[in-house]
């Protein structure tokens, strides 16, 4: 049981998530983007996928399974990148017309 498995770590993760959401909201406002709830859902889903990918790589390395880390990193990483680029295009399409 180390820091990254502790309750404190998840508390800090929660704070970081709040700050990230706040940052995205301000960034969207400044760019004149309208983020409806389904777009927020997409953003959350993408971050979950990205987090899963990194956690998978870390877990596999921790388990001394470098092949799993490499192959999983490539497989999930490519999916994350594709969905990230696609999502970015989709999110930035609907600019507020004012």
């Amino acid at each position: 049981m180390g820091f990254f498995n502790s309750g404190l770590f998840w508390f800090i993760e929660g704070i970081l998530a709040c700050l990230a959401v706040r940052g995205i909201k301000i960034w969207a406002e400044d760019r004149g983007l309208i983020l409806r709830w389904w777009k927020w859902l997409y953003v959350f889903a993408w971050f979950t996928l990205a987090g899963f990918t990194l956690a998978f790589i870390g877990t596999s390395l921790g388990e001394n399974e470098p092949i799993a880390a490499l192959r999983g990193g490539i497989l999930f990483g490519i999916i994350t990148i594709i969905l990230g680029v696609g999502g970015w295009r989709w999110l930035t399409l609907s600019k507020r017309k004012d």
Binding site: M1, I12, L16, G23, A50, T59, G62, E63
Partner: protein, 487 residues
């Protein structure tokens, strides 16, 4: 003044955006570190952290079924260990064959068995004539790599309870007199089977068991003949004593890191020893309450078959490899049984998707170097349809690999043999809760992509065309070459 105010507002928003971006990066990075720690964390090796039952934590109540998932398809027959269990069969073969190398020299029951299973006679003879000399030669040439593994196994198996020397009518019951009391102890009146079951499970966990379950003993699982060293005459059929009403099953895991380095570095002795000691202690506890109790313990000191009793007791399901798979430990455990007449409430069996998973998976069959695990369907054995291990092939591989006795590759490679961290627990719950079986194929594919094993032939000794390979590298504390200087 107006200009300054605008500038301040802009900076604040920029700051929040920068903080948000930094937080996102730190948060995602943190998950990577979380994963690394979860992967390394030794406390996620189920069974090696708590003596209080905390590791038996699968929500079994959601998967219970009324009847055990044994497929009875005809008249049943109890197993005859003298011929059907290779540990008994091979010594008898050796004994008689050395004197007179003809099938006619064998006891009638063995002649009958080999007539029905001619392939097993060939395999058994191959074992004693060819495998063992090859192994001896390879042991001298390559065996020193496994000195620490063998020492570890020796240490774990060093504590063994004495053999049972009296028949169940006396050995299973409390001693007739003690140092302090002359009278015969009577069974204490217990309040209810439910309460007693709860107590017995708590005690068993306190004794160190990772898993404990209770079943009503099905006579089909008791041997036809007793094996030597159990206080019974091995030449006479075993009559099931009436006090073998219930079976309490205990299970403990084999040490995880060596287990992944099977077949050479892992050992069964660690879990054998712990399960054995727990069973003897549990029997002593029950006897002290005035009831009968008899331990049936590994390596080979049983009057019954353990796997089907584990299934009856709701601890797991039978796998393709013929071993039981439990939700908490996968197949990585060794079990012992205590038969008793203390009134108990049996547990219900469970079905959590193993059968469906094993139908699609087949990794153990593909990785098994001896071909003992079938890639095909179930067959009827003694009146039950089941996946049947070809024990003679399996045992021949035991006798053709260096390091510790046994193999256990099927345990190492099984997708259920994984640490209890977020990743593998998620996979377990996904497969257990999928009634369609659709995820089973996907999880099997991922298992093969992420956790490949060596070529099965490489597990063999060099004189049989192998490379002494192990599924994974041994842990640092079993790498002999790092600690012992050889000239």
């Amino acid at each position: 003044m107006e200009k300054d105010k605008t500038k301040t507002t802009f900076s604040r928003r920029s700051f929040l955006k920068a903080t948000g971006a930094t937080s996102a990066v730190l948060g995602l990075g943190g998950l990577g570190f979380f994963g690394y720690q979860a992967g390394q964390d030794p406390s996620s090796y189920t069974g090696w952290k708590t003596f209080e039952g905390g590791d038996q934590n699968f929500p079994r109540h959601r998967f219970v079924v009324d009847k055990p998932p044994h497929e009875k398809v005809g008249p049943t027959r109890r197993v005859d260990p003298r011929s059907e269990i290779v540990f008994s069969r091979l010594p008898t073969l050796l004994l008689h064959w050395q004197k007179n190398p003809t099938p006619e020299s064998l006891p009638q029951y063995l002649q009958d068995y080999y007539r029905e299973h001619p392939e097993d006679l060939e395999l058994d003879l191959y074992n004693v004539r060819e495998l063992r000399p090859k192994l001896m030669a390879d042991q001298q040439k390559y065996g020193r790599a496994f000195i620490l593994a063998e020492a570890w196994s020796e240490a774990m198996g060093a504590v063994t309870p004495p053999q049972i020397t009296e028949p169940p009518e006396t050995a299973d019951f409390p001693p007739r007199r003690s140092y302090f009391r002359e009278e015969v102890p009577r069974p204490y009146k217990l309040k209810s089977p439910e309460k007693t079951s709860r107590l017995i499970k708590k005690i068993t966990h306190e004794l160190g068991a990772t898993l404990v379950g209770i079943a009503r003993l099905n006579p089909d699982w008791v041997f036809q003949y007793p094996i030597p060293g159990r206080g019974l005459d091995p030449s006479r059929p075993l009559e099931i004593p009436s006090h073998w009403e219930y079976a309490i099953v205990v299970g403990t895991p084999m040490s995880w890191d060596p287990m992944y380095a099977n077949p050479n570095y892992g050992t069964s002795e660690d879990a054998y020893s712990i399960s054995r000691i727990i069973a003897y202690r549990l029997a002593a506890f029950i006897k002290k309450l005035g009831y009968a109790a008899r331990p049936h313990t590994p390596g080979y000191s049983y009057d019954l078959m353990v796997p089907p009793i584990m299934i009856d007791a709701g601890l797991g399901e039978q796998a393709r490899s013929s071993i039981v798979i439990t939700p908490e430990l996968g197949p990585n455990f060794r079990a012992a049984v205590v038969t008793t007449n203390i009134p108990l409430k049996p547990d219900k069996p469970i079905k959590f998707g193993v059968e469906s998973f094993c139908k699609t998976c087949k990794i153990c069959a593909e990785q098994c170097p001896s071909g003992a695990i079938t890639k095909g369907d179930k067959v009827v054995v003694r009146g039950y349809r089941k996946w049947q291990l070809h024990a003679a092939k399996c045992y021949n591989f035991w006798n053709s690999n260096l390091g510790n006795m046994g193999c256990r590759i099927c345990i190492s490679v099984c997708p259920y043999t994984r640490k209890a961290n977020w990743l593998h627990r998620a996979a377990l719950h996904l497969s257990s809760n999928d009634p369609t079986g659709l995820t089973h194929g996907a999880l099997t594919k991922l298992q093969k992509i992420f956790y490949p094993g060596p070529n099965p032939q490489d597990y063999y000794i060099p004189s049989l065309g192998g490379k002494n390979a192990s599924y994974r590298r041994p842990p640092w504390w079993l790498r002999t070459e790092d600690f012992i200087e050889f000239e």
